[in-house]
Symmetry: C2
Subunit: 191 residues, 2 copies
Protein backbone atom coordinates (compact mmCIF):
# COMPACT_ATOMS: atom_id res chain seq x y z
CA UNK A 1 0.00 0.00 0.00
CA UNK A 2 3.00 2.31 0.39
CA UNK A 3 2.82 3.23 -3.26
CA UNK A 4 -0.74 4.46 -2.97
CA UNK A 5 -0.06 6.50 0.13
CA UNK A 6 2.93 8.12 -1.53
CA UNK A 7 0.82 9.20 -4.49
CA UNK A 8 -1.88 10.49 -2.15
CA UNK A 9 0.72 12.62 -0.40
CA UNK A 10 2.08 13.94 -3.69
CA UNK A 11 -1.40 14.82 -4.91
CA UNK A 12 -2.20 16.63 -1.67
CA UNK A 13 1.08 18.53 -1.90
CA UNK A 14 0.38 19.52 -5.50
CA UNK A 15 -3.05 20.81 -4.53
CA UNK A 16 -1.78 22.89 -1.62
CA UNK A 17 1.41 24.11 -3.30
CA UNK A 18 -0.60 25.31 -6.30
CA UNK A 19 -3.21 26.98 -4.09
CA UNK A 20 -1.13 28.69 -1.45
CA UNK A 21 2.39 28.31 -2.75
CA UNK A 22 5.23 26.11 -1.49
CA UNK A 23 6.47 28.45 1.24
CA UNK A 24 3.01 29.13 2.63
CA UNK A 25 2.15 25.43 2.81
CA UNK A 26 3.25 23.56 5.91
CA UNK A 27 3.99 19.88 6.26
CA UNK A 28 1.13 19.85 8.76
CA UNK A 29 -1.23 21.32 6.14
CA UNK A 30 -0.39 18.50 3.74
CA UNK A 31 -0.68 15.79 6.39
CA UNK A 32 -3.95 17.09 7.86
CA UNK A 33 -5.55 17.40 4.41
CA UNK A 34 -5.26 13.62 4.05
CA UNK A 35 -6.07 12.87 7.71
CA UNK A 36 -2.54 12.12 8.82
CA UNK A 37 -0.21 13.64 11.36
CA UNK A 38 2.95 15.34 10.17
CA UNK A 39 5.05 12.72 11.97
CA UNK A 40 3.46 9.95 9.91
CA UNK A 41 4.13 11.85 6.74
CA UNK A 42 7.86 11.66 7.41
CA UNK A 43 7.65 7.88 7.14
CA UNK A 44 7.06 8.41 3.38
CA UNK A 45 9.03 11.53 2.52
CA UNK A 46 12.53 12.65 3.39
CA UNK A 47 11.77 16.34 3.81
CA UNK A 48 9.77 19.21 2.36
CA UNK A 49 12.37 20.23 -0.22
CA UNK A 50 12.52 16.74 -1.72
CA UNK A 51 8.76 16.68 -2.03
CA UNK A 52 8.77 19.81 -4.18
CA UNK A 53 11.70 18.53 -6.19
CA UNK A 54 9.95 15.24 -6.86
CA UNK A 55 6.84 17.00 -8.14
CA UNK A 56 8.69 19.42 -10.40
CA UNK A 57 10.93 16.75 -11.87
CA UNK A 58 8.15 14.29 -12.51
CA UNK A 59 5.86 16.68 -14.35
CA UNK A 60 8.55 18.51 -16.27
CA UNK A 61 9.94 15.18 -17.46
CA UNK A 62 6.47 14.08 -18.47
CA UNK A 63 5.99 17.27 -20.49
CA UNK A 64 9.32 16.76 -22.27
CA UNK A 65 8.70 13.08 -23.03
CA UNK A 66 5.25 13.81 -24.40
CA UNK A 67 6.64 16.63 -26.53
CA UNK A 68 9.31 14.37 -28.04
CA UNK A 69 6.78 11.62 -28.70
CA UNK A 70 4.24 13.88 -30.33
CA UNK A 71 6.90 15.40 -32.58
CA UNK A 72 8.24 12.01 -33.57
CA UNK A 73 4.72 10.99 -34.57
CA UNK A 74 4.44 13.75 -37.17
CA UNK A 75 4.49 11.91 -40.46
CA UNK A 76 5.63 14.26 -43.17
CA UNK A 77 8.25 16.15 -41.16
CA UNK A 78 6.34 19.39 -41.75
CA UNK A 79 7.44 22.17 -39.34
CA UNK A 80 3.88 23.51 -39.16
CA UNK A 81 2.56 20.14 -38.07
CA UNK A 82 5.37 19.82 -35.55
CA UNK A 83 4.62 23.24 -34.08
CA UNK A 84 0.91 22.40 -33.92
CA UNK A 85 1.81 19.18 -32.10
CA UNK A 86 3.97 21.08 -29.59
CA UNK A 87 1.29 23.66 -28.86
CA UNK A 88 -1.39 21.02 -28.57
CA UNK A 89 0.76 18.92 -26.23
CA UNK A 90 1.64 21.86 -24.00
CA UNK A 91 -1.94 23.10 -23.68
CA UNK A 92 -3.41 19.63 -23.09
CA UNK A 93 -0.72 18.92 -20.50
CA UNK A 94 -1.47 22.20 -18.70
CA UNK A 95 -5.15 21.35 -18.76
CA UNK A 96 -5.02 17.75 -17.58
CA UNK A 97 -2.31 18.28 -14.98
CA UNK A 98 -3.26 21.85 -14.27
CA UNK A 99 -2.27 21.98 -10.61
CA UNK A 100 1.06 20.25 -11.16
CA UNK A 101 1.74 22.56 -14.10
CA UNK A 102 1.11 25.57 -11.88
CA UNK A 103 3.61 24.26 -9.35
CA UNK A 104 6.20 23.64 -12.07
CA UNK A 105 5.65 27.11 -13.53
CA UNK A 106 5.65 29.12 -10.29
CA UNK A 107 7.93 27.38 -7.79
CA UNK A 108 11.24 27.38 -9.61
CA UNK A 109 12.44 30.05 -7.19
CA UNK A 110 11.72 27.76 -4.24
CA UNK A 111 14.26 25.21 -5.40
CA UNK A 112 17.85 25.25 -4.18
CA UNK A 113 21.28 23.96 -5.15
CA UNK A 114 21.41 20.84 -7.28
CA UNK A 115 17.64 20.54 -7.44
CA UNK A 116 17.44 23.98 -9.02
CA UNK A 117 20.29 23.26 -11.42
CA UNK A 118 18.66 20.07 -12.61
CA UNK A 119 15.28 21.67 -13.22
CA UNK A 120 17.05 24.47 -15.07
CA UNK A 121 18.61 21.85 -17.34
CA UNK A 122 15.23 20.24 -17.99
CA UNK A 123 13.76 23.63 -18.86
CA UNK A 124 16.52 24.32 -21.35
CA UNK A 125 15.95 20.90 -22.87
CA UNK A 126 12.28 21.66 -23.36
CA UNK A 127 12.95 25.09 -24.84
CA UNK A 128 15.41 23.54 -27.27
CA UNK A 129 12.66 21.32 -28.70
CA UNK A 130 10.65 24.42 -29.59
CA UNK A 131 13.71 26.27 -30.89
CA UNK A 132 14.57 23.42 -33.24
CA UNK A 133 11.08 23.37 -34.75
CA UNK A 134 10.99 27.14 -35.14
CA UNK A 135 14.37 27.25 -36.86
CA UNK A 136 13.51 24.33 -39.10
CA UNK A 137 10.39 26.19 -40.20
CA UNK A 138 12.30 29.39 -40.85
CA UNK A 139 14.94 27.57 -42.89
CA UNK A 140 12.13 26.06 -44.99
CA UNK A 141 10.66 29.58 -45.38
CA UNK A 142 7.41 28.43 -43.85
CA UNK A 143 7.84 30.52 -40.71
CA UNK A 144 8.80 34.16 -40.43
CA UNK A 145 10.04 35.93 -37.29
CA UNK A 146 12.96 38.07 -36.16
CA UNK A 147 14.49 36.35 -33.14
CA UNK A 148 14.14 32.60 -32.52
CA UNK A 149 14.77 32.77 -28.78
CA UNK A 150 12.20 35.54 -28.21
CA UNK A 151 9.69 33.70 -30.34
CA UNK A 152 10.14 30.39 -28.54
CA UNK A 153 9.78 32.07 -25.15
CA UNK A 154 6.69 33.88 -26.43
CA UNK A 155 5.09 30.67 -27.68
CA UNK A 156 5.76 28.77 -24.46
CA UNK A 157 4.52 31.63 -22.26
CA UNK A 158 1.42 31.83 -24.38
CA UNK A 159 0.59 28.15 -23.85
CA UNK A 160 1.59 28.09 -20.19
CA UNK A 161 -0.92 30.82 -19.40
CA UNK A 162 -3.77 28.36 -19.91
CA UNK A 163 -3.13 26.81 -16.49
CA UNK A 164 -3.81 30.17 -14.83
CA UNK A 165 -7.38 30.53 -16.02
CA UNK A 166 -8.63 27.14 -17.24
CA UNK A 167 -11.49 25.65 -15.22
CA UNK A 168 -12.56 22.05 -15.61
CA UNK A 169 -16.16 23.03 -14.99
CA UNK A 170 -16.03 25.93 -17.43
CA UNK A 171 -17.83 26.22 -20.75
CA UNK A 172 -14.71 25.45 -22.78
CA UNK A 173 -13.20 21.99 -22.96
CA UNK A 174 -9.43 21.69 -22.96
CA UNK A 175 -9.71 20.30 -26.51
CA UNK A 176 -11.47 23.47 -27.68
CA UNK A 177 -8.86 25.62 -26.04
CA UNK A 178 -5.99 23.60 -27.45
CA UNK A 179 -7.45 23.94 -30.95
CA UNK A 180 -7.81 27.70 -30.63
CA UNK A 181 -4.31 28.09 -29.23
CA UNK A 182 -2.93 25.98 -32.06
CA UNK A 183 -4.49 28.37 -34.54
CA UNK A 184 -3.37 31.51 -32.70
CA UNK A 185 0.16 30.20 -32.19
CA UNK A 186 0.62 29.07 -35.76
CA UNK A 187 -0.65 32.36 -37.21
CA UNK A 188 1.89 34.11 -35.01
CA UNK A 189 4.84 32.68 -36.93
CA UNK A 190 3.49 31.73 -40.36
CA UNK A 191 5.22 33.56 -43.19
Amino acid sequence: MAKDVEQTIIDAAIRLFSEKGYAATSIRDIANSIDMTSASLYYYIKNKKDLLNLIMNRYLTLLINNANETIAAVEDDDPSDKLKALINNHVQNHGFNKLAALVVDTEYRSLEGEHKAHVKKLRSEYEQIWLDVLEEGKAAQIFSYENAKITSFAMINLCTGVAHWYREDGALSIQNIAEEYTMLGLKMVLA
Copy 2:
Protein backbone atom coordinates in the same frame (compact mmCIF):
# COMPACT_ATOMS: atom_id res chain seq x y z
CA MET B 1 12.57 62.07 4.97
CA ALA B 2 9.70 59.73 5.81
CA LYS B 3 8.62 59.61 2.16
CA ASP B 4 12.04 58.49 0.99
CA VAL B 5 12.30 55.80 3.63
CA GLU B 6 8.87 54.50 2.70
CA GLN B 7 9.87 54.15 -0.94
CA THR B 8 13.14 52.48 0.07
CA ILE B 9 11.14 49.94 2.06
CA ILE B 10 8.76 49.32 -0.82
CA ASP B 11 11.63 48.84 -3.28
CA ALA B 12 13.35 46.41 -0.93
CA ALA B 13 10.10 44.50 -0.49
CA ILE B 14 9.57 44.33 -4.26
CA ARG B 15 13.08 42.98 -4.76
CA LEU B 16 12.73 40.29 -2.11
CA PHE B 17 9.12 39.34 -2.89
CA SER B 18 10.03 38.90 -6.56
CA GLU B 19 13.15 36.87 -5.74
CA LYS B 20 11.96 34.56 -2.98
CA GLY B 21 8.22 35.10 -2.95
CA TYR B 22 6.04 36.87 -0.40
CA ALA B 23 5.64 33.95 2.01
CA ALA B 24 9.34 33.10 2.01
CA THR B 25 10.34 36.71 2.72
CA SER B 26 10.37 37.81 6.35
CA ILE B 27 9.92 41.30 7.69
CA ARG B 28 13.43 40.91 9.07
CA ASP B 29 14.77 40.12 5.59
CA ILE B 30 13.32 43.35 4.25
CA ALA B 31 14.54 45.43 7.17
CA ASN B 32 18.06 43.98 7.20
CA SER B 33 18.46 44.46 3.44
CA ILE B 34 18.20 48.23 4.00
CA ASP B 35 20.18 48.20 7.29
CA MET B 36 17.22 48.55 9.62
CA THR B 37 15.77 46.44 12.39
CA SER B 38 12.36 44.91 11.96
CA ALA B 39 11.04 47.00 14.85
CA SER B 40 11.99 50.22 13.04
CA LEU B 41 10.25 49.02 9.91
CA TYR B 42 6.95 48.95 11.79
CA TYR B 43 7.21 52.69 12.28
CA TYR B 44 6.53 53.02 8.53
CA ILE B 45 4.29 50.09 7.69
CA LYS B 46 1.21 48.69 9.38
CA ASN B 47 1.91 45.02 8.72
CA LYS B 48 3.24 42.61 6.12
CA LYS B 49 -0.10 42.09 4.36
CA ASP B 50 -0.58 45.79 3.76
CA LEU B 51 2.88 46.05 2.27
CA LEU B 52 2.06 43.45 -0.39
CA ASN B 53 -1.31 45.04 -1.02
CA LEU B 54 0.25 48.47 -1.50
CA ILE B 55 2.71 47.12 -4.07
CA MET B 56 0.14 45.17 -6.06
CA ASN B 57 -2.37 48.02 -6.12
CA ARG B 58 0.16 50.66 -7.10
CA TYR B 59 1.64 48.79 -10.05
CA LEU B 60 -1.59 47.32 -11.33
CA THR B 61 -3.18 50.77 -11.26
CA LEU B 62 -0.17 52.19 -13.09
CA LEU B 63 -0.50 49.52 -15.79
CA ILE B 64 -4.20 50.28 -16.24
CA ASN B 65 -3.72 54.04 -16.35
CA ASN B 66 -0.91 53.74 -18.90
CA ALA B 67 -3.04 51.40 -21.01
CA ASN B 68 -5.95 53.82 -21.05
CA GLU B 69 -3.68 56.75 -21.90
CA THR B 70 -1.89 54.98 -24.71
CA ILE B 71 -5.19 53.88 -26.26
CA ALA B 72 -6.64 57.36 -25.99
CA ALA B 73 -3.59 58.69 -27.84
CA VAL B 74 -4.28 56.54 -30.93
CA GLU B 75 -5.31 59.03 -33.56
CA ASP B 76 -7.37 57.28 -36.18
CA ASP B 77 -9.25 54.91 -33.89
CA ASP B 78 -7.77 51.95 -35.74
CA PRO B 79 -8.13 48.69 -33.74
CA SER B 80 -4.76 47.46 -35.02
CA ASP B 81 -3.03 50.56 -33.72
CA LYS B 82 -4.85 50.24 -30.42
CA LEU B 83 -3.79 46.63 -30.04
CA LYS B 84 -0.21 47.56 -30.92
CA ALA B 85 -0.35 50.26 -28.26
CA LEU B 86 -1.65 47.82 -25.65
CA ILE B 87 1.02 45.23 -26.41
CA ASN B 88 3.75 47.84 -26.43
CA ASN B 89 2.55 49.32 -23.14
CA HIS B 90 2.32 45.95 -21.42
CA VAL B 91 5.77 44.79 -22.55
CA GLN B 92 7.47 48.11 -21.74
CA ASN B 93 5.80 48.14 -18.34
CA HIS B 94 6.95 44.60 -17.62
CA GLY B 95 10.45 45.57 -18.67
CA PHE B 96 10.83 48.83 -16.77
CA ASN B 97 9.09 47.66 -13.61
CA LYS B 98 10.08 44.05 -14.04
CA LEU B 99 10.34 43.11 -10.36
CA ALA B 100 7.08 44.81 -9.41
CA ALA B 101 5.40 43.16 -12.41
CA LEU B 102 6.60 39.76 -11.20
CA VAL B 103 5.10 40.42 -7.78
CA VAL B 104 1.80 41.51 -9.32
CA ASP B 105 1.73 38.45 -11.58
CA THR B 106 2.71 35.78 -9.04
CA GLU B 107 1.43 36.87 -5.61
CA TYR B 108 -2.30 37.13 -6.21
CA ARG B 109 -2.74 33.96 -4.18
CA SER B 110 -1.03 35.59 -1.19
CA LEU B 111 -3.73 38.24 -0.90
CA GLU B 112 -6.72 37.81 1.39
CA GLY B 113 -10.23 39.14 1.87
CA GLU B 114 -10.94 42.65 0.62
CA HIS B 115 -7.42 43.13 -0.69
CA LYS B 116 -7.86 40.11 -2.94
CA ALA B 117 -11.30 41.22 -4.08
CA HIS B 118 -10.03 44.66 -5.03
CA VAL B 119 -7.09 43.33 -7.03
CA LYS B 120 -9.46 40.94 -8.75
CA LYS B 121 -11.58 43.92 -9.78
CA LEU B 122 -8.53 45.75 -11.12
CA ARG B 123 -7.54 42.68 -13.13
CA SER B 124 -10.98 42.45 -14.68
CA GLU B 125 -10.82 46.13 -15.52
CA TYR B 126 -7.52 45.62 -17.34
CA GLU B 127 -8.77 42.55 -19.21
CA GLN B 128 -11.81 44.51 -20.33
CA ILE B 129 -9.60 47.07 -22.07
CA TRP B 130 -8.09 44.30 -24.19
CA LEU B 131 -11.47 42.67 -24.79
CA ASP B 132 -12.95 45.92 -26.08
CA VAL B 133 -10.15 46.42 -28.60
CA LEU B 134 -10.31 42.82 -29.79
CA GLU B 135 -14.07 42.95 -30.29
CA GLU B 136 -13.88 46.30 -32.02
CA GLY B 137 -11.33 44.83 -34.43
CA LYS B 138 -13.46 41.78 -35.10
CA ALA B 139 -16.56 43.89 -35.74
CA ALA B 140 -14.53 45.92 -38.25
CA GLN B 141 -13.39 42.63 -39.84
CA ILE B 142 -9.77 43.53 -39.24
CA PHE B 143 -9.24 40.81 -36.65
CA SER B 144 -10.18 37.16 -36.87
CA TYR B 145 -10.41 34.73 -33.96
CA GLU B 146 -12.88 32.30 -32.41
CA ASN B 147 -13.31 33.28 -28.78
CA ALA B 148 -12.65 36.80 -27.52
CA LYS B 149 -12.04 35.82 -23.92
CA ILE B 150 -9.52 33.10 -24.81
CA THR B 151 -7.78 35.43 -27.20
CA SER B 152 -7.50 38.27 -24.69
CA PHE B 153 -6.11 35.92 -22.03
CA ALA B 154 -3.68 34.54 -24.58
CA MET B 155 -2.46 38.00 -25.60
CA ILE B 156 -1.99 39.14 -21.99
CA ASN B 157 -0.21 35.92 -20.98
CA LEU B 158 2.04 36.29 -24.00
CA CYS B 159 3.13 39.80 -22.99
CA THR B 160 3.37 39.05 -19.27
CA GLY B 161 5.90 36.31 -19.94
CA VAL B 162 8.51 38.92 -20.80
CA ALA B 163 9.08 39.68 -17.11
CA HIS B 164 10.12 36.07 -16.53
CA TRP B 165 13.11 36.09 -18.86
CA TYR B 166 14.02 39.71 -19.67
CA ARG B 167 17.44 40.83 -18.40
CA GLU B 168 18.45 44.48 -18.35
CA ASP B 169 22.02 43.51 -19.15
CA GLY B 170 21.00 41.19 -21.96
CA ALA B 171 21.62 41.67 -25.66
CA LEU B 172 18.05 42.75 -26.37
CA SER B 173 16.67 46.11 -25.31
CA ILE B 174 13.13 46.28 -24.03
CA GLN B 175 12.30 48.40 -27.09
CA ASN B 176 13.46 45.63 -29.43
CA ILE B 177 11.46 43.07 -27.51
CA ALA B 178 8.36 45.26 -27.46
CA GLU B 179 8.59 45.72 -31.23
CA GLU B 180 8.91 42.00 -31.85
CA TYR B 181 6.03 41.19 -29.51
CA THR B 182 3.89 43.81 -31.23
CA MET B 183 4.48 42.06 -34.52
CA LEU B 184 3.90 38.57 -33.14
CA GLY B 185 0.78 39.60 -31.25
CA LEU B 186 -0.77 41.45 -34.14
CA LYS B 187 -0.15 38.58 -36.58
CA MET B 188 -1.89 36.32 -34.11
CA VAL B 189 -5.26 38.02 -34.60
CA LEU B 190 -5.06 39.72 -38.01
CA ALA B 191 -7.68 38.46 -40.45
